[in-house]
Amino acid sequence: MTTTTTPTLEKAIEDTAAHLYVWALKDIPQDLRDALGEASRRETHKVGKRILETITTNVAVADEQKNLVCQDTGLAVFYVRLGEHFPLHPARIETALREGTRRATVEHPLRSNTVHTLTREPTGDNTGHRIPNIHWEFVPDWDGMDVKCVPKGSGSENMSFLKMLTPADGIAGIKRYVLDSIVGAGGKPCPPGIVGIGIGGSADLAMHLAKEAIARPVDTVNPDPEVAKLERELFELINETGVGPMGLGGDTTVLSVHIEQAHTHITLNPVAINYQCWAARRASAHITADGGVEYDREF
């Protein structure tokens, strides 16, 4: 944990964004390291165990060489919790997060992945129209700001699924859709990772919630006991499929299942899945109203 103070708030946020992006790519969080280590010890499948050992070696090599864990520097996604009394408008915060992303890409340098969707023309700096993707949560009676950077790799993002189930499909329908989707994804999203699931709301809200779910630390539990129960059941059932590390067979297909939910319409039962690969990169900071920055404050 480090604390720094910088002259202006907007600059502090920009610096923080640049730091978080690179830090997330190089140093995966401890909860994920623990989960990967535990999976490696428990795995009984020969190929699966070998893959998990290679993953552990890779994380150690990234630490030693201060290199990126994975070459895919992702699409930059930021999650912001913003206090009502924080003295900078979200419009300026958005500008600062964008500029921080751009600077990190150019200065490190990081591979730029961002292209125009139709022309495929690269922007060269990992920013673009509506990119970085920023999730906002506003907190009453508070003057602070939490920010989390989750560079999202495309291998796992390509394995995103949405289905508008019917109310009659029920919870069993949700479970079946998740199982079929994860088995169908096979080794493509770099399992074992975190399965993020959004249920309820509207189609767009369900996927938004799935994306929030993948940003939670491994083994965090939804506060709603019904949702937490579904998280546990799906974790067990998915690992029974035997898809295994990198889709080559084994006991460990997922490290964790996270579900976020919203209320929905009487006729709706949406389920959205956003997969996060084993290299579930994530880095956080807390910014005070006077521009002080405290890194590694998880939320």
């Binding site: 070998r50 890779n58 090599v61 290199n67 070459q71 079946r176 493509k188 499929t241 898809v243 067979g249």
Partner: protein, 195 residues
């Protein structure tokens, strides 16, 4: 499940010796290609400016730094999902003589037939393990089609590149397909009944 060591470029006969589940370490040279590279070769009909004959191809778009003398220094080189590029398999093996495709997640089942017919294997690397992969690349020797950056044609000289697992062989066997069949059997026979 035998372990092999092969120096690339290699021959059709050498890759026909490999079986799904075997492990492999590669010496010599590997050529990096990706979506845009193959779209240019096959969909735009542009002849690649380096030979792919006997080559091991790697599905990659590396992080690199350009040096003052025009060469590129490897920074972080890893492997992308192969399934997107499955349809190029036949052209790579039959028309260009490539012998191995290295990637993660597997090629789609439709690639098994051209691998078998024309003599090519799919080698699985551990996706995301790019920091380790980078230490096995000694030098970027040649870069073509820089306008496609980072999806250029890259020629890497490697040492002890691996561990790789033979995921799809020339005998019609695919570890990915075997795992899928077993997973679907488990769903049907025990898992769905618990929902």
């Amino acid at each position: 499940m035998a372990h092999h060591e092969l120096t690339f470029p290699t021959t059709e006969e050498a890759v026909r010796e490999l079986h799904a589940g075997d492990t492999l370490t590669i010496q010599g040279h590997i050529i990096g290609i990706r979506d845009a590279t193959q779209i240019r070769i096959f969909d735009r009909g542009v002849e690649p400016p380096m030979s792919l004959d006997g080559a091991a191809l790697l599905h990659t778009a590396p992080n690199v730094r350009k040096l003052d003398d025009g060469r590129y220094e490897p920074m972080c080189i890893g492997t992308t999902t192969s399934a997107r590029m499955s349809r190029f398999t036949e052209g790579l093996i039959r028309d260009h003589g490539a012998r191995a495709i290295i990637g993660k997640g597997g090629l789609l089942p439709e690639a098994l037939e051209p691998l078998k017919a024309h003599g090519g294997v799919y080698l699985a690397i551990v996706g995301g393990a790019a920091a380790l992969e980078t230490t096995q690349i000694e030098e970027i020797e040649q870069v073509e089609w820089e306008d496609l950056m980072p999806e250029c044609l890259w020629k890497f000289r490697v040492r002890d590149f691996g561990p790789l697992i033979v995921g799809m062989d020339t005998h019609g066997e695919s570890l990915y397909e075997n795992v899928q069949v077993e997973a679907r059997r488990r769903l049907e026979q025990s898992i769905y009944s618990k929902l």
